[in-house]
């Protein structure tokens, strides 16, 4: 008998929207940072920190706005993403505020720049802007598929964003890495935004080319080798990554782009051979660059034995300090505000902020943070699984994959698992670009998940429905 059943008479089952779950989780995500803030104040000054309630209310208001926007414009979105981002961002501000209180960092800033300005207020402003951007993404981007139209514009855009820091006069060389541009006194890290823009290009491009890339291939030693001409795109991205690495000294961004491309290529074509080729190419690139670029070589040395060159190399000292931060934290940590992670020096509240987590919150805290990030990644990949259109799938997996690689590269770098790259820990590190870009990323994931989980529109009444009978054998 036929298994085909006519489903047109069955109305769409509305999935629970989970907005109230999100609201409840958001309440936790706001309250926990407020407690953390109080804890730091009590530990450092012995009294509650200034403006604790104003700060708390402000953050609650921001989270509330974000929630209302999601409730109104992305009703079916994943309920976890927003609370996770809110919690991480809130804790990040507390960590930055805690490092602002460090006399050692204040003195260091005074010696280096003549003055010290706290980073936490800026971070709050950036957070507010970022949540506005998040709302903007949801308001303006009614359907993520619209972005398909911008495939090649995105390519151009991401190239511009990547090249900007190298342009003389516009780019700023900060501690060896040319990843900044400064415009009118503001510093922007274009790479953070390029991450999203380039994902649009990859998704759009691969969606169109996936069949050619997947099917036109020869089998060799169990692997499907692509045709030479199909290798073009991956070679180009590879070369671009190497150029970024060489001209901007930015190992992280380079790795991120290439990794993201390989992941998306693999998902689009379902061919394991791409992974193998991608891995071989990145290993080849890494070996060549590692052996030639002094800046990368120093970091590799620092990774291999930070204490061997501790007193002679700044890179080694930083990594060594960071590892000692983690070690000194131990299982339970020194407690908020009671560690000495500021010994790391100038990048303590940006690239190395995870070391402060390690020292003050200990193994327990670090694992909690890693699991929070893991949840974001998992929800992102789940969104990709649920997405119904190939563009959405690719886009979502590209963004989540990039997020995962970034977490791995940054946390792995400060923990001495891999060579240090100098990227920011999403939501935690001080810096506007990072906060804005990552909130935009969450916004896009929420949009895709909303589209994915949104019930199909109720079917139009079928004129045949009255006449068709389903006959079942009794």
């Amino acid at each position: 008998m036929s298994v085909v059943t006519n489903t047109t008479t069955i109305g769409a089952i509305e999935l629970p929207s989970r907005r109230n779950t999100e609201l409840l989780l958001l309440a936790f995500a706001v309250v926990i940072p407020i407690f953390a803030y109080a804890n730091v104040g009590l530990a450092i000054d012995g009294k509650l920190p200034p403006g604790m309630f104003v700060y708390g209310l402000g953050y609650a208001a921001l989270a509330g706005v974000a929630h209302l926007v999601v409730r109104r414009y992305a009703k079916y979105a994943d309920p976890l993403l927003l609370p996770l981002a809110t919690l991480l961002n809130g804790l990040g501000v507390v960590l930055i505020w805690r490092l602002d209180q460090s006399e050692r960092l204040q003195n260091l800033a005074k010696r280096s720049y003549g003055s010290f300005s706290p980073s936490a207020p800026n971070q709050m402003i950036y957070t507010a802007l970022a949540i506005a951007l998040f709302a903007g993404v949801l308001l303006l981007l009614k359907d993520h598929r619209v972005l398909q139209r911008f495939t090649y514009i995105s390519m151009a855009g991401s190239l511009v964003l990547l090249i900007l820091p190298v342009i003389p006069g516009l780019g700023a060389d900060v501690f060896g890495a040319k990843i900044w541009i400064s415009v009118g006194g503001f510093s922007i890290q274009p790479g953070e935004f390029a991450k999203i823009v380039i994902a649009v290009f990859f998704a759009g491009y691969l969606m169109v080319k996936r069949d050619a890339l997947a099917l036109a291939s020869r089998r060799f030693m169990g692997l499907y080798l692509p045709r030479g001409r199909d290798l073009g795109p991956i070679l180009m991205i590879w070369a671009m990554s190497l150029l970024v690495l060489i001209f901007e000294n930015d190992l992280g961004t380079s790795l991120l782009f290439f990794g993201m491309f390989v992941i998306m290529l693999y998902v689009a074509t379902e061919r394991t051979s791409w992974i193998v080729i991608g891995l071989l190419m990145s290993i080849g690139g890494a070996v060549v660059v590692g052996a030639t670029a002094s800046h990368v070589k120093a970091r590799v040395n620092a990774w291999l034995d930070p204490f061997g060159c501790y007193s002679t190399s700044g890179a080694c000292e930083q990594v060594g300090q960071s590892i000692m931060s983690f070690g000194s934290g131990g299982v339970l940590g020194a407690g908020w505000g009671q560690g000495n992670s500021d010994l790391i020096g100038f990048a303590a509240n940006s690239d190395f902020i995870f070391s402060t987590v390690g020292e003050e919150l200990g193994l327990t805290g670090v694992m909690a943070f890693l699991l929070l990030y893991g949840l974001i990644i998992e929800r992102g990949v789940r969104t990709a699984l649920a997405a119904r259109d190939p563009f959405g799938k690719l886009f979502a997996v590209g963004l989540s994959g990039a997020f995962a690689i970034q977490i791995f590269v940054v946390a792995g770098g400060v923990m001495g698992l891999i060579p240090l790259t100098g990227m920011t820990m999403p939501f935690l590190a001080s810096g506007g670009s990072s906060v804005l870009a990552n909130w935009a990323l969450i916004g896009i994931l929420i949009r895709i998940s909303d589209t994915a989980r949104r019930p199909a529109p109720a079917p139009a009444p079928s004129p045949d429905s009255e006449m068709t009978q389903v006959v079942r054998p009794s």
């Binding site: 000692m324 070690g327 131990g330 694992m367 990030y373 893991g374």
Partner: protein, 487 residues
């Protein structure tokens, strides 16, 4: 596209898992090693984060703590009369580490010692800040000051012991240094540190414990003790069979005597005028192995003399040739002793043959002054019998009464001593070391002080350098300071 997506999700999971494993490795497995690494300044930051306890001499602290601003370290160590007490306290510097008592008793001083666990726990509940405990020393401030002032700007060291208990009464090393000068970590501190570290005078070396010198003629009391103990001599006034000149056994080299009348001189006479030939002869007769036995009972060849600061091992060679042994018996050749060692020798003789273990920490107390530990005097060994000890005492008193040690005479007090002038350098070219060891007796026959003085180099011309001339007055001042307290 879902199959590769699931694999990507697995891959992302593995990335997070790798990070989780790494953090467990760092923060659980390696935590202890990383948190105590020498590069980890947190160790020192914690060390100076609370006020350190004090090192106390006769009720008065000789250390203190000052709050420092704009530094990693909250408290800085201060020292009262740093130069005077540096050989006792050592130093505790934020930048350059710590030594001696400051280092050895760090647990008590910072309050981290396990024995202070109870105090810390109470403090946690009452909200009191963590405090350090105190180290109460055995030193006698009068004796210390007398030795330091008498040595003046000459290079040398003094060690004084209470023979009855082994308590160290004075420990001086000159030229000294003021640990306050580099207790912090500023540029000035660094300058002072570098200056001291590289100084030609080796200011940072504690000469009383950590420098060995050829003991010269002061070693003759050890040889005398060995001769009596091993029955080579019974009557100290009986003539010996020492020829003049005395040829070192197995060689053609005669032993040089600076004194006259050494031929067949009795032990008593030989010590009085410091005959080299007689004691070389005695040492040879006792034989090397038995000399080693007695010397070791006095504390030679022991590298574990902790007071609690570890003193360098004094050396009496166990494998030297017969003529080497003969030369060593007068404190030359490769015999070497710390001032503390010679003070121990004197103390053992003055205490009727019983050597007490030297110590300088009497008590450790908690921040609230509760006793944590009290030192009980311990016997270390018996290098010679009481009867023989009294014979050596008799000879040493004779040295002071009629011999080379006249400068140590104290009115109405029985004093025993021995001078020494040790040659050193190739061909004895360098200035000799002036030694003096002595003890003073109370009317009841017990001795409250034994002292060893060494003066390394002085501006006096070579002929004038002698233990009796230079070192004895210093020893006398120390003994008087100790006796003064007893009335």
């Amino acid at each position: 596209m879902n199959k590769p997506l699931r694999r990507i999700s697995l891959f992302c999971g593995l990335l997070v898992l790798a990070l989780l494993i790494r953090t467990n490795w760092l923060q659980y497995v390696q935590a202890e090693e990383l948190s105590t690494r020498k590069e980890n300044r947190r160790v020192q930051i914690a060390q100076y984060a609370t006020e350190r306890g004090n090192i106390i001499v006769k009720g008065n602290p000789i250390t203190g703590s000052a709050v420092t601003n704009g530094s990693d370290y909250k408290f800085k160590r201060t020292y009262t009369e740093g130069q005077l007490w540096a050989p006792v306290t050592g130093y505790a510097s934020q930048a350059f580490g710590s030594t001696q008592l400051e280092s050895l008793e760090d647990g008590i001083l910072t309050g981290n010692d396990d024995r202070l666990f109870f105090d810390r726990t109470i403090g946690m509940f009452t909200g009191e800040k963590k405090q350090g405990g105190n180290v109460i020393t055995t030193l006698n401030p009068d004796a210390q000051r007398a030795a330091f002032e008498k040595l003046g700007n000459r290079k040398g060291a003094v060690a004084a012991i209470d023979p009855r208990t082994g308590a160290i009464l004075a420990l001086v090393s000159t030229p000294s240094y003021d640990p306050s000068r580099f207790a912090g970590n500023s540029k000035d501190d660094e300058k002072a540190w570098v200056e001291l570290k590289d100084s030609e005078d080796k200011n940072l070396v504690n000469r009383a414990l950590r420098e060995t010198y050829p003991p010269g003629s002061t070693f003759k009391v050890v040889t005398a003790a060995a001769a009596l103990e091993h029955k080579v001599v019974d009557d100290i006034n009986a003539p010996t069979d020492t020829p003049e000149p005395y040829i070192l056994p197995g060689t053609k080299t005669p032993m040089v005597n600076h004194a006259t009348g050494c031929e067949k001189a009795s032990l008593n006479k030989a010590l009085e005028v410091s005959c080299n030939s007689v004691f070389a002869n005695m040492g040879d007769k006792v034989t090397r192995d038995k000399m080693v036995e007695t010397a070791e009972k006095f504390g030679f060849n022991n590298d574990k003399i902790d007071v609690p600061v570890r003193a360098f091992a004094s050396v009496y060679d166990k494998k030297m040739s017969r003529d080497g042994n003969a030369q060593s018996s007068i404190g030359q050749f490769n015999t070497a002793a710390t001032p503390l060692q010679m003070a121990m020798v004197t103390a053992a003789i003055a205490n009727d043959g019983k050597l007490m273990k030297p110590y300088m920490v009497d008590q450790l107390t908690a921040p609230n002054l509760d006793l944590v530990e009290k030192h009980e005097p311990q016997e270390m060994s018996r290098p010679l019998s009481a009867a023989n000890a009294q014979k050596v005492q008799q000879m040493m008193v004779n040295v002071v009464e009629t011999g080379t040690g006249g400068n140590a005479k104290i009115k109405n007090t029985v004093v025993g001593g021995k001078t020494g002038t040790a040659q050193h350098g190739e061909g004895n070219k360098k200035r000799p070391y002036a030694w003096f060891i002595s003890y003073a007796e109370l009317p009841d026959g017990s001795s409250p002080v034994a002292v060893a003085v060494v003066i390394e180099d002085s501006e006096a011309s070579r002929e004038d350098i002698s233990g009796g001339g230079l070192a004895a007055p210093v020893a006398k001042a120390v003994m008087q300071a100790v006796l003064g307290g007893k009335g």
